[in-house]
Amino acid sequence: MRGACSIISQVVTTDSTVGADAQQTAPDQVLRDALSIALATGLYAVSFGVLSVAAGFSVAQTCVMSVVTFTGASQFTFVSVIGAGGSPAAALAPALLLAARNTLYGISLKSVLTGSVARRALLAQGVIDETSAMAHAQPAPAAKRRAFDLTAVLLFVGWNLGTVAGALAGQGLGNPQDLGLDAMFPAVFLALLAPQLRNADSRRAALAGGLVALALVSFVPAGVPIIAAGVVAVPFLVTAHRRGRREADA
């Protein structure tokens, strides 16, 4: 509650003068959020470990996937298609289509993830939903970068510890669905999305993305609805761009 009040008072007192720049989340709040996301992610990584071993992958293969792939939705899709008897090709296609959203995130984080080629090659591994959303929730470039780094490191640790635990425990934990672990994923994404809905452009983009995905999910291969939702953002980018120019001209 206190958090809500302080955010509201920040917005109320600063909105008319400096706008978005003043809405920067306090640094320790970013750390707390990053820890919280890492903990939640670690828990659903346990369900990835369980599902992967149940699908026929070894513990080593499961762990390599989490370290090197490090993008949850693709990993879940990959092991669930294989677990259901699909061929590797049938599993790879939707997994990589889902991973393609990280390409879009990478483009959007261009000005945040600076440094030498080697450094950027390392940073690229951290470009996923949670890190991009945490970074973009911050207004200033330095704060974006700090939010990205903290979220990436903590989430990497949580994701991989959870994977190892799930892979080793295997079916001993029971069915991940009985524990409601599949409901955690959208819940975390909702918590990540909420702070981004500050202006009308974002709210319209969220609505459009959700509706496009809902409309397509029955008819197209897995992964396509997500990419289509990203494409939907283009008109909103143009609108935001034009509005920015008009305000600059005025």
Binding site: M1, G3, R32, D33, S36, I37, L39, A40, S58, Q61, M65, V68, F70, T71, A73, I82, P88, L92, A95, L96, R101, N102, T103, G106, I107, S108, L109, K110, R120, A124, H136, Q177, G180, D182, A183, F185, P186, A187, V188, F189, L190, A191, Q196, D201, A205, A206, G209, G210, A213, L214, V217, I226, A228, A229, G230, A233, L237, H241, G244, R245
Partner: protein, 100 residues
């Protein structure tokens, strides 16, 4: 299980991440700023939420995940920490499935 699909997934997933930074690196420095590229995150997250809450394979379904998402939405609105939101959603879905 053979290693080759695992390696293909690893190479592909990392390659797609690196591609974004490589492409982004060639853009004019303030293009990202002017075009509000951060808005890209928004429809993608919304799509992931919808697909993972209301579909199973290619079927649209309403199951225990929908009330779990409502509980999550309420807690997000009350600005609860991420881990509380996630655990409450899991507990809601698990509880409903236990009752069913």
């Amino acid at each position: 299980m053979s290693w080759s699909p695992v390696i293909a997934l690893c190479v592909g997933a990392y390659g797609l991440k690196a591609l974004g930074l490589a492409v982004g690196g060639r853009l004019d420095p303030d293009v990202a700023e002017r075009w509000h590229l951060e808005i890209l995150v928004v429809p993608i997250l919304a799509a992931l939420i919808v697909v993972q809450s209301f579909s199973s394979g290619h079927r649209l379904v309403l199951d225990a995940r929908a009330p779990a998402l409502l509980v999550a939405a309420f807690l997000v609105w009350r600005r609860a920490p991420f881990v509380v939101v996630a655990l409450a959603a899991a507990a809601t879905a698990a509880g409903l499935r236990l009752l069913a």
